[in-house]
Amino acid sequence: MPLNENEFRPKIVAFCCNWCSYAGADLAGSSRLSYPADVKIIKVPCSCRVNPMFILRAFEKGADGVILCGCHPGDCHYSTGNYYARRRMTLLFSMLEYLGIEKGRTRVEWVSAAEGVKFSQTMNEFVETIRSLGKNVRLGDLRCKN
């Protein structure tokens, strides 16, 4: 897709666990399954390494969407990490929604190392959602001083 000056190009941070989702992204790559370049991946050992502060930090710095990918529940390399991540993100996302932040800007997907197709599809869908939501102004704007 050629770059178009006027088009909204969202900034999207994808945290991927090393063992499943990062490998899933690699598989999407080696299978040449494209998804928008707006998605930039940060490798973490496990989804449970992702601190809510990282997600808020991304929004603070201008991200329009943040997605966290980990092993499917039950398949965590560390056996239980994604279960903790699931609870943490459930609560965090619920809080953001409570503050009036669009729910679509945050997402968790479980993508295995074998799911290159799912990885690509997930990213395509997520970018589409963020594009339809437009630029993230609310999170950066929650506190507006005189």
Partner: protein, 662 residues
């Protein structure tokens, strides 16, 4: 400030055709900390690696970023190259501009822009990297096997054959396990005892194997390579050194009304007993709950009749503390309780039995001396019904959701053996599916149907009702003919689901080995590390990991042994340096991190600190880096940020976030 070199790989045309590598190089030269950037057609080649070596020397680099394929491909290569150049290998980061960029984007401008951002994030991270040293820990060259069934015996023999000391802890008075209760084994119809007993003897006679029967694991501390285990040797009330195994005590014992566990409670035994004739060790134990001497203080018959003077009523439990490098769990299984399955009348009729009970009935040493007869009236049955999947593949909460895996085969075995020995007995098997994936399994099942005329009915049994005439009315359905079946049977055999031995939960907790909702121990990876627990140094053997038959169990026992040997063969263990590390001055001592650690790697210590002049004793988290696998669960749980993960620190990840969102 780091001095970072950035190396952009063309990967032939894999990257260079879509990413303007020259532009990436130019852009990277402007990044903070970068003092050298270049591109090369194949960074992973020897010549490419030399580029890194040369640049490190020439530019006095302290950090390296390679923009190339996935770190899963060549991170190790580049780390080694950096090490050759005298850098700490953990000062290298990879920007994945192939799988995550050039291969999925077509537009060069777009792909180049993304490659620059990915490289920038890697540079931002390296700026905060610190040299990490892999630690070392010692290995105690001794293994513990928990469970003395066929899985534990085989694992112990294999480890011992490799020259390492092995202790087996078995909670019953003899090794042998479930296999010793079986009559014949499928699909070869070998006599179970005939093939098991030599293994038991081999284990007992092995100079490297030490067996603790009637013993349990009390406490486990330590970590891979260096576990310390307390084993409780329960008081046998018989001195093993003196006992000759003559058996007179058991004959003379006046208390003979205890249910015989070995025969699944189908008959009784004396208070002083060995579970079965081939028991190893052949030393009886006194069941203190049943023993008159222990209950009333009067009796003492066994002491009187024992020529060897082996009876010792005063014997106490003994705690043995031993160190181990590896622990293999082989705790096996039991059949589920059938309290939730009243419709099969198991508790109402003696003639409704489980398959394991049938094994004992069929066995010459069993309660009926091997004669197939009804337990209610001792009559020979004419009509037998087998019901499959009792408690297995259960969609409600009464039983287990999984397939117990062995039932189809042992039922075929039972049916075949009965038809063979008692041709006048009709055998009907109600089944959901017949699952026979295994060498010679389907052939075996087909023989049961075709040669032995076993009547297989696809359908489930809704109810088994005892009739006034002593028979059992079986109401089932035939799904293929779509009809209801009412059948009067003399005996009903339930292919009862198997579940992990109840004690495994306690053991898993002690080992911090994870366990699933069904109490099966979890593998480190379900496909690629099936005999290892996620807890380093703990291996899984047999049904404690999942339902399996004897050959699979033996195969897994061998595999677990190999894994344990691989560990014991090492003198030192290199530990993953990307482990959690607490900042002692920030630690609150709240224990939240320890609660989420899947490896039990976090302990607490009361430690004197000097916090900017304030000296006090504080409760502080300690991470055992030999146990920590570096998942990072603790780092997020820690509210003060005291716990951080080396190699993936909070500030490193935040720097990546900032670089991407810039």
């Amino acid at each position: 400030m780091q001095r970072i070199g950035v190396f952009v790989c063309h990967c032939g045309s894999n990257i260079a055709a879509t990413v303007d590598v020259k532009k990436v190089v130019e852009m990277m030269k402007k990044e903070p900390g970068v003092c050298h950037a270049e591109d090369y057609p194949y960074m992973c080649s020897e010549a490419g690696q030399m580029k890194i070596l040369e640049a490190v020397k020439e530019h006095h680099l302290t950090g390296v970023v390679v923009c190339s394929c996935s770190p899963r491909m060549h991170e190790a290569t580049f780390r080694k190259a950096a090490e050759r150049a005298g850098l700490n290998p953990y000062m290298v980061e990879i920007a994945n501009i192939r799988e995550h960029c050039s291969w999925i984007h077509k537009d060069m401008e777009e792909a180049t822009e993304k490659a620059v951002i990915l490289a920038r994030a890697a540079v931002a991270k390296v700026n905060l990297n610190t040299p990490l040293q892999a630690g070392e820990s010692r290995v105690t060259k001794r293994a513990l096997v928990i469970g003395g069934g066929i899985a534990g015996i085989q694992t112990a023999i294999d480890i011992a054959d490799a020259g390492y000391e092995v202790d087996i802890v078995e909670k019953t008075p003899s090794i042998g396990g479930r296999m010793s209760q079986l009559d014949k084994t499928f699909p070869t119809l070998d006599c179970s005892a005939c093939i098991l007993t030599p293994k038991m003897v081999e284990a007992a006679a092995h100079e490297k194997i030490n067996i603790y029967t009637y013993s349990e694991v009390d406490k486990v501390t330590g970590f891979v390579g260096d576990f310390t285990v307390d084993i409780r040797k329960k008081a046998r009330s018989v001195n093993s050194d003196k006992c000759t195994g003559c058996g007179v005590c058991q004959e003379k014992c006046p208390s003979k009304k205890s249910l015989n566990e070995f025969n699944r409670g189908l008959n009784t035994r004396s208070a002083i007993y060995t579970p079965f004739a081939q028991a190893i060790p052949n030393v009886p134990v006194i069941d203190r709950d049943a023993c008159i001497k222990f209950k009333t203080g009067k009796c003492g018959v066994c002491e009187k009749v024992c020529q060897a003077g082996a009876i010792d009523y005063a014997q106490q439990d003994e705690i043995i503390t031993e160190k181990y490098g590896a622990i293999v769990v082989a705790t096996g299984f039991d059949t589920i309780k059938l309290d939730n399955y009243d419709e099969y009348a198991y508790n109402q009729s003696k003639d409704v039995i489980t398959s394991l009970e049938l094994e004992r009935i069929m066995n010459a040493a069993g309660p009926t001396k091997g004669h197939l007869e009804r337990l209610s009236d001792g009559k020979a049955p004419k009509e037998m019904v087998f019901i499959q999947c009792v408690g297995s593949r259960c969609s409600d909460n009464r039983g287990k959701s999984y397939c117990s895996k062995i039932c189809c085969m042992y039922t075929a075995k039972h049916a075949m053996l009965i038809r063979d020995k008692y041709p006048d007995v009709n055998v009907t098997v109600f089944y959901i599916d017949v699952r026979t994936p295994g060498k010679n399994f389907d052939e075996f099942y087909r023989r049961a149907v075709e040669e032995y005329g076993v009547n297989y009915v696809k359908g489930q049994v809704g109810k088994v009702a005892p009739l006034p005439n002593g028979k059992l009315l079986v109401q089932g359905s035939d799904l293929l003919d779509n009809k209801q079946i009412l059948k009067e049977a003399d005996m009903v055999v339930l292919a009862t689901a198997i579940e992990p031995e109840a004690s495994v939960r306690k053991i898993a907790t002690m080992l911090t080995a994870s366990i699933d909702t069904n109490n099966f121990l979890t593998e480190a990876h379900p496909k690629l590390r099936p005999v290892e627990s996620p807890t380093a140094g703990v291996f899984l053997s047999g049904v404690c990991q999942g339902p399996k038959d004897i050959p699979e169990t033996v195969a897994q026992a061998g595999a677990a042994a190999v894994k344990a040997i691989g560990l014991l063969a090492k003198d030192k263990l290199t530990t993953n340096p990307c482990t959690a590390k607490p900042d002692e001055l920030l630690c609150n001592g709240c224990s939240q991190c320890a609660n989420v650690c899947p490896y039990g790697a976090i302990t607490y210590l009361d430690k004197e600190v000097n916090d900017h002049g304030i000296r006090e004793t504080r409760r502080i988290a300690q991470v055992n880096s030999a146990l920590c696998q570096g998942c990072g669960a603790c780092t997020v749980t820690c509210p003060s940020g005291a716990m951080d993960l080396q190699g993936f620190s909070n500030r490193q990840i935040i720097a990546e976030v900032d670089a991407i969102c810039r």
